[in-house]
Subunit: 366 residues, 2 copies
């Protein structure tokens, strides 16, 4: 169903409406949680970068794009092998249009962004096929909680997104370890969702860790350590620290369901004050099933920005309508927050115009 | 003169009153800018730590105290060789009492704090006697500006303090390089202000850099690189980034005059929206002269929290009345902000009670 804004309620109508009314006209803070992993470099897993090693630069470049309006770690902006620009372009455009402040939370990047960032004490992640993918999970959760509490004091609500290549594969890893059936349900940036590859990678990781589906339900910290990624403890800690005080919009697609499952295992009451904010492309995606994952363990509402690039004059943006990319860098949540902050004065048409303007400026810089 | 709060107007009455009225009942964000240097380890220069190497742990421990209410990098709290607790205890008590949010800006520490912090791309500082004390000055200023702009969006005003051992010696260094006469005018944590030692250290630094008093007036970035400390570019950048949008209370003693001089050289218009917030102990100090430094190049107002620990039941706090420590970790500015936020419902008596309570809890943890 549609709302007063160009936002689709995709799941749990009643709670979603309450959440939307709570954030209308309010001043959010957007936090981009960035990390990189070796999992993201497994051939065929991610399209976030023109080649596997390029994925080390994608999250820092996204961070720079949000804060500076342009990238420093790379020329131009991150693009997929098909030439599609990072969804960070949507995020940046939405945040600028509504003058929403941005903080970068570095959860563990191989290459540090060339902008100020919050260090949460994490490291870049290893390949989950080792069964030992993430360091300092406990420590990062604790530090992120402290940061989440402070940020809750200086904003009406938080919007927290992610940029981590290969994130849906590690999401499948964590969900599987926690006993949530997500095989065939996680999303992908790629034209053909490589479900079999993801399942194989996760199976290898669980096996290497001496674990199996659901065997770490009682030990969520270990589940992240074995087959998760560094974004998860950081984002979960930020949500847990903040959600006692203010609403939190978790800005992302199926990756956020893994973070939800982690929060559900660590501190389920935090979920009362949380919604997922994503894009129309994710909720309408036939190759993934965000509702089918969430429904297994909680009733958090799902909102989706009703973005449509079909009418864009730029082929690089039109292509979003074919189901590529879909989401990332909190694009959907940032769009929802921009529309809610401006009480609808920002709508999807205005947003597309801003995105096109920024796209054209950034492409001319290359 | 006194105001409605327990705040003394120490300099530039008219502008100070306007500033105070602008911040009354408003919601600030407190930023603690931390760094360490080898200058701080020169015997006799600093009392911020029980021995020179301990100074590496003082700023991280102060950061932890502000965010967690206790330290992690050290047992208990940082104390001087005389057993006086860190002024961070005052800061922490004031911020808690008024529920003021805190962010740690790491400008360059040898030991990272065990709490979330903003990384501004700086390194720990070398001994200024090398004439080459600070890395990445330009980069840190640029990043700090970006951070200051974002933080200005999420708070009514900023209060920015520092924790850097040996900071008055490097302050004398930068002021001298910029042609401000500060010899004999900078403050000290120690019972006897070692002015001669500081002058000798600064002279050695200028000589090693091939510079002399005032020779870097036209090159403030180089002045910091040669004889400054890493806190300076970070704090100056934060102020410059924020002061276009919101008032900024620079929370500290004579160290802040060096930052003021740097801002004055880089971006003087930022000073229109700035005040210094310090303590009664600094403005009444017979061994230093904060007004005499500021007056040489700008007319920024100076406010001082009218703290008085003479009536405290704890000798470790009473001793502040003998002129030791005086200021640090933004103690004065945080106290002013707490009183202004609560429109006087927090006064110096209530603040002392809170400080005593926290002191007693922290001492019992040792």
């Amino acid at each position: 169903m549609k709302t007063n804004f160009d936002v689709i309620i995709a799941h749990n109508k009643q709670k979603a409406e309450v959440f939307l009314s709570e954030i209308e006209s309010k001043n959010p803070l957007f936090i981009a949680t960035i990390a990189t992993t070796e999992t993201g470099k497994i051939p065929g897993v991610s399209a976030a970068g023109q080649n596997p090693d390029f994925t080390d630069f994608t999250p820092p470049a996204d961070a720079e794009l949000l804060l500076l309006g342009k990238c420093k770690s790379i020329q131009g902006v991150p693009i997929t092998p098909d030439g599609i620009p990072t969804p960070g372009l949507i995020t940046m455009s939405a945040l600028k249009l509504a003058n929403i402040p941005v903080v970068i939370a570095n959860a563990g990047c191989k290459v540090s962004p060339q902008v100020p960032f919050i260090d949460l004490g994490g490291n870049s992640g290893r390949d989950i096929r080792t069964g030992d993918s993430v360091d300092n999970v406990d420590k990062v959760i604790e530090r992120a909680k402290v940061a989440g509490e402070q940020f809750a004091k200086i904003s009406d609500y938080l919007v927290i997104g992610e940029s981590i290549p290969g994130g849906t594969t590690t999401a499948l890893g964590l969900l599987s370890a926690l006993g949530v059936n997500a095989a065939g349900k996680v999303s992908s940036t790629l034209p053909v969702n490589p479900h079999d590859l993801k399942v194989d990678v996760v199976q290898a990781g669980l096996k290497a860790a001496g674990e199996k589906f659901g065997s770490l339900t009682g030990n969520p910290v270990k589940a992240v350590s074995c087959v998760g990624d560094p974004m998860m403890p950081a984002l979960a800690g930020l949500v847990i620290g903040a959600a006692n005080h203010v609403p939190v919009l978790m800005a992302g697609g199926t990756q956020m369901t893994a973070v939800l499952a982690l929060i559900n295992a660590l501190n389920p009451e935090a979920l009362c004050n949380v919604a997922i904010g994503t894009t129309r492309w994710v909720i309408n995606d036939a190759t993934s099933d965000i509702r089918g994952i969430v429904n297994q363990f909680c009733n958090v509402p799902i909102l989706a920005a009703d973005l449509n690039f079909g009418g864009s004059k730029f082929p690089g943006l039109q292509i979003y309508e074919t189901g590529l990319v879909k989401e990332g860098v909190g694009a959907g949540g940032a769009s929802i927050a921009a529309m809610a902050k401006m009480s609808g004065a920002v709508n999807k048409d205005l947003l597309l115009k801003a995105i096109e303007r920024n796209y054209s400026v950034l492409m001319s810089m290359k």
